[in-house]
Symmetry: C2
Subunit: 428 residues, 2 copies
């Protein structure tokens, strides 16, 4: 993509309204534009990242044997009246009256809608287990939206719902989602700690939040230092129930079994939340299956959320420096940026254009800065938007048939021929 | 995908509430489930088709040099008050009051939101032309939702907005979208006729609807018989302005320049709508750029919609027989279905499983009917859901190392070795 034909609008100044670094950088890089309080438009650069994250989440949900569906954003109130929680969400639920005076709402979550569908379609234990998920926009009417996409009102969530015949297999579904979450966050270069959580309006007896440790986190997290040496494969439900980790609303110092010298604490950003709630929804919404003995059994359920749009902010909180964002390669909007330092110099232009076309032909995602701007502005913009690699093409290097490849994260620089530069980027 | 692990729920009976064939077939195949009037959940089979269509639309928008953004579903009323059309939509607009008593709405279209963004980010004629699009859920509170996804309330729309410096280049944007639409529909095997249309609540002086001819269409379309021999490349704005074609609300027999013997008429389904409306939104919303002479110029705009979710229904209207749906290959949920006629026969099972794995390994999208059901039910279901190809694996053929490949559309059948069957499907 040529920047001259792209929608890139970077700001030098820090926007006044943004209190945390991810919000500032998302506005400064033109990833998002606020449309109204807590509601954003995703501009091309931001949307590219959002889609990368969404696709990683989707692939890991599919790998775990879940089926993708798509529920509507607008839900009828009657399902929530049936489940008994129409009032639980209070003012955070965006309530709507349609032209026929029917009560509707913008879904903040979808336990009721999916349980209703299950009840209508699945009739036998032979069709279990089932896990159905969707990646859809949700709405929570936060009283004070802030921190950009980290606590917006309209947000993109992956929500998965598991249906099992009994408690043991429901635990297996819960474990499968724990495994999927660890893999999902690892693919984004994140370590997320699952901590015991309050199950809140979702309800149920078992609940964990996945917290990314970051200074700007909203929660204070307390955890056994043993967490720091836990390998990904060791995150089992048994282990989580024996090792202590809790966010502030669940942490009671007087009840904490971990001696103080082994208790770590840090700020955390919640990026996922998993729940087991048994038959809380299946009984009122009639989600029963015929068991092996011919009797009707209410299904055991759980639900599993990942804040897809929130992850964009969380990733920036975890990956930035004073110059801007440093995207992990798996979620970067482009893999590499080409900086043409003098578009008026014929040889430089030719070298940069050649590199651009060769990379495109090899299916490398490349952003080409072909603007008529000073080198300093181009350096600053490219560091700000944080693509993993840069290829700097200037008249001095071009005179010798060479360019500079820079790693945004390490600041390593390599003086290379054009072909070697392409090879280096391709193999990186 | 194994049907035993999928979410496939077919109905033998025709649902009472469905008046048209696409709605009936979408319910009978379990593509969608109604969540409330005019609001649907997309089940895995339906979502697979929706995503294929969405991706074709996206690729053709990108090919035409448009940039993808993503606007929120919920919009603030103040932008619509500025543009002067807050009342134009009447009761079709779903109006919402948030917890702070601010007036909001669920976007039925997004001219205001995108013009506001343009006004804030683009300042110079040098950044023109720009075309920004998104594929996002919209809401129109239809008084009587019906025909399934064809006239639902929550629907998926691709909406593109063009920004140009003057009328001539605005016409070029309009033409680029006409070309993109012709290509988009052609890739789905559809011929859509662009007819003169009323610009309605969007406004403007130039507007065309793309109509697919189908018996169940909601509009009556009148067109010069010359349309029937028009090659795709000949659909230019000049040609559209010289050749007559209009839907009923624009067709006035007394003014029609086409002699009756050359005037064709048919029912049509609207799948796209393009508008040129000049400065109708740019002036009230302040979308001005600095022109070459330093003066501020309001940008010339157009907008271009495709009903993505509606196309699922329209495609079924255009592609079905008495047995069910006949998917064009480009939008089929799977390319091929394998019917294992006897899962209790070891040799049949082995042959079907082998075929399944070999096709998967070659990245063919395959649905494998591994259920313990009678052959008749499997034949009926596979014809109903309408995958382009079927591979029928039964004990009699397996005894000779052969299977039957069937083309759903032509009903051609081929008695082939397993390897030849795989080759045939791959190359099809």
């Amino acid at each position: 993509m040529r920047i001259s034909q792209y929608f890139l609008s970077t700001l030098k100044e820090t926007p006044q309204e943004a209190q945390i670094v991810s919000h500032r950088l998302m506005l400064r890089t033109g990833m998002i534009a606020q449309t109204t309080a807590g509601i954003y438009t995703w501009l091309p650069l931001g949307l590219a990242v959002l889609k990368k994250i969404e696709q990683i989440v989707r692939e890991e949900q599919n790998r775990a044997g879940s089926l993708e569906v798509l529920m509507p954003t607008i839900q009828p109130a009657d399902l929530w009246i049936k489940s008994g929680r129409y009032n639980d969400y209070g003012k955070e639920m965006l309530r709507i009256t349609d032209r026929h005076e029917r009560e509707m709402l913008y879904g903040p979550t979808a336990e009721e809608v999916i349980t209703d569908i299950f009840a209508r379609y699945i009739k036998s234990y032979k069709d279990l287990p089932k896990r159905l998920y969707n990646i859809q926009w949700k709405f929570r009417d936060e009283i004070r939206p802030r921190f950009g996409v980290m606590r917006g009102r309209e947000f993109l969530m992956k929500d998965n719902y598991s249906f099992n015949l009994d408690y043991e297999s429901a635990r297996a579904s819960y474990q499968a989602m724990l495994d999927a979450y660890v893999r999902t966050f690892a693919r984004m270069g994140l370590t997320a700690i699952p901590v015991r959580a309050d199950s809140g309006a979702i309800g149920g007896t078992l609940s964990h939040e996945f917290q990314i440790l970051a200074e700007t986190g909203e929660s204070q997290v307390y955890y056994d230092e043993a967490y720091e040496t836990l390998a990904p494969g060791e995150i089992t439900l048994e282990k989580l129930q024996s090792l202590y980790a809790a966010a502030d609303e669940m942490h009671k110092p007087e009840d904490c079994p971990v001696p103080l010298e082994k208790l770590k604490t840090a700020r955390g950003i919640e990026v996922g939340h998993v729940f087991y709630f048994g038959t809380k929804y299946s009984i009122p919404l009639g989600a029963y299956v015929m068991g092996p003995d011919g009797k009707q059994i209410p299904v055991e359920m759980g639900s599993y959320g990942i804040g897809v749009s929130r992850l964009v902010g969380a990733l920036i909180e975890a990956n930035h420096d004073e110059k801007g964002i440093i995207w992990p390669e798996s979620v970067a909007p482009f893999k590499v940026g080409i900086l043409n330092l003098n578009i008026k110099d014929e040889a430089t232009n030719k070298a940069a254009e050649d590199l651009y076309h060769k990379l495109l032909n090899q299916d490398v995602e490349v952003l080409y800065d072909d603007r008529d701007q000073a080198p300093g502005a181009k350096f600053a913009d490219m560091d700000l938007i944080g693509l993993p690699w840069q290829i700097i093409v200037g008249p001095r290097g071009v005179a010798q048939g060479r360019c500079e490849v820079k790693n945004r994260k390490t600041d390593e620089r390599f003086d290379l021929s054009y072909d070697d530069a392409i090879q280096k980027i391709r193999k990186a």
